[in-house]
């Protein structure tokens, strides 16, 4: 049984430690905020200029001057702060953010990450993804193990243009969890229940221990 998206988010939540400053990407990573253990003190950063991101507002509390990096309306908390995009990326590049959890199109066994463009399709732009993987202390990727076609997404080398070279520390898919030594190799750490090593080998292009 492959892990569900919720289970993948819950697995990623285990990488969050008390006191961490965390930046969550759009998509499944956003769900990690909903499954953090109660009582854990975690501060979420939004790269458009906020620390201490609160939940979505009640309808009557919507404020157009208060959005997250996905352009969704949000709220502030008692400990929140606001700052410019330059200060925000100073935090990110400067190594002050402990952890980022991102989605991806491909990951390579040496930690290369490709998640911002597919040649031939419209390029939307990288937004803050390149800065996040370049500067955040620990980079965790959440993605499906294979494409809809069945093609592996965990590869020897990424075939798509890179977001960052040798930047991924942990890869969580619906089938397995891999630790990655940046610039080195990958190690299989966990398998989804009912998944065999043979199945993972068949669906993975990357080499791993």
């Amino acid at each position: 049984m492959p892990w569900t998206r919720e289970q993948m988010a819950a697995r990623a939540a285990r990488e969050v430690k008390d006191g961490f400053y965390v930046n969550l990407g759009i998509g499944i990573p956003t769900q990690v905020a909903n499954v953090l253990p109660p009582g854990m003190q975690v501060t979420l950063q939004s790269e458009n200029g906020m620390l201490g991101m609160g939940p979505f507002p009640y309808p009557e509390d919507i404020d157009p001057d208060l959005i997250n990096a996905g352009k969704q309306t949000i709220t502030e908390l008692a400990h929140s702060s606001y700052f410019s995009s330059a200060d925000s990326f100073g935090m990110i590049r400067g190594g002050h953010i402990d952890l980022t959890i991102l989605g991806s199109l491909q990951v390579a066994e040496n930690g290369d990450l490709a998640n911002w463009m597919v040649p031939g399709k419209m390029i939307k732009g990288m937004g803050g993804a390149m800065d996040l993987v370049a500067g955040v202390q620990r980079v965790v990727v959440l993605m499906e193990h294979v494409e809809k076609s069945g093609a592996p997404k965990f590869k020897r080398r990424c075939t798509l243009p890179l977001t960052g070279a040798a930047v991924v520390d942990l890869l969580i898919t619906d089938l397995a969890v891999f630790g990655i030594e940046r610039g080195g190799g990958a190690t299989l750490l966990e398998m989804a229940p009912g998944t065999s090593l043979d199945e993972i080998r068949a669906k993975t292009e990357a080499s791993f221990r």
């Binding site: 609160g54 507002p57 410019s84 330059a86 937004g127």
Partner: protein, 244 residues
């Protein structure tokens, strides 16, 4: 009327605009964009513009109006999504797009206003962003040389401003505005509340007035929301978790 104060956006831009110029405009998505100034820029009809901003509006909003009026030749941004017209204009070759990592874009503008002509960053090393740029190793870490950005005119949006041009921004509407205010040869600020000197506490000012040449009180403040996300009121709702 104090020397920096203008009655409206059109008056504040009078004499500043010319074909082929470079314009910076603040905002992240539609949050914190100078709405009146953007429409005045469109109404001016100046063409062949290079526009620097994190985005170029979204469908029917913000800089989309200037794009739809075929006034833009090139955009320098980090994210071009949520804008079908920009996509079409790019595919037909009408518009050139220069993609920047968001933090690199922010820092290039900050550098432009701070007299730093170029800087090395780890962001983008080993990617297409580094192609054609100098790279260098510092402490064993590969870095890319990025150059500063400045503009002929910077268009910024603030919450409060005074007649000296001192500015205070509100919540996440701050984003790119403070750096852009420093990087324009001329900076024009659109504010929601225009107050007398002395009404803003000197310790609370985000952008000192030296960076602002012209200021006016905007009237539009449409503040269109791109993605309206809300939660339900539940009897035992957990408001402590972080969302979104």
């Amino acid at each position: 009327m104090p020397r920096k104060i203008f009655p409206n956006a059109a008056a504040a831009l009078d004499g500043l605009l010319f074909d082929g110029m470079t314009v910076m405009a603040g905002g992240f998505g539609l949050c914190g964009i100078p709405e009146d100034l953007i429409l005045a820029l469109r109404d001016s009809g100046v063409e062949d513009l290079t526009v620097i901003g994190n985005n170029v509006g979204c469908d029917q909003h913000g800089l989309w109006h200037v794009l739809a009026n075929h006034q833009i030749r090139k955009v320098i941004l980090s994210y071009a999504g949520d804008n079908k017209l920009l996509e079409q204009s790019f595919l037909t070759g009408e518009i050139e797009i220069e993609f920047n990592p968001q933090g690199t874009l922010a820092e290039r503008i900050r550098a432009g206003g701070a007299g730093i002509l170029a800087f090395y960053t780890r962001t983008g090393y080993g990617t297409v962003i580094a192609e054609g740029k100098e790279t260098k190793q510092f402490g064993g870490k590969g870095c890319v040389l990025e150059t500063a950005l400045t503009a002929d005119v910077s268009l910024v949006k603030a919450w409060k401003g005074d007649s000296e041009g001192n500015l205070i921004y509100r919540k996440t509407a701050r984003n790119f505005n403070p750096m852009m205010a420093t990087a324009g040869a001329v900076t024009v600020a659109e504010v929601e509340l225009l107050v007398d000197v002395g009404d803003l506490h000197p310790d609370h000012i985000h952008t000192p007035g030296i960076f602002v040449d012209r200021i006016f009180r905007g009237v539009r403040h449409e503040k269109h929301i791109e993605r309206r996300a809300t939660r339900e009121r539940a009897p035992s709702s957990d408001a402590s978790g972080a969302g979104g």
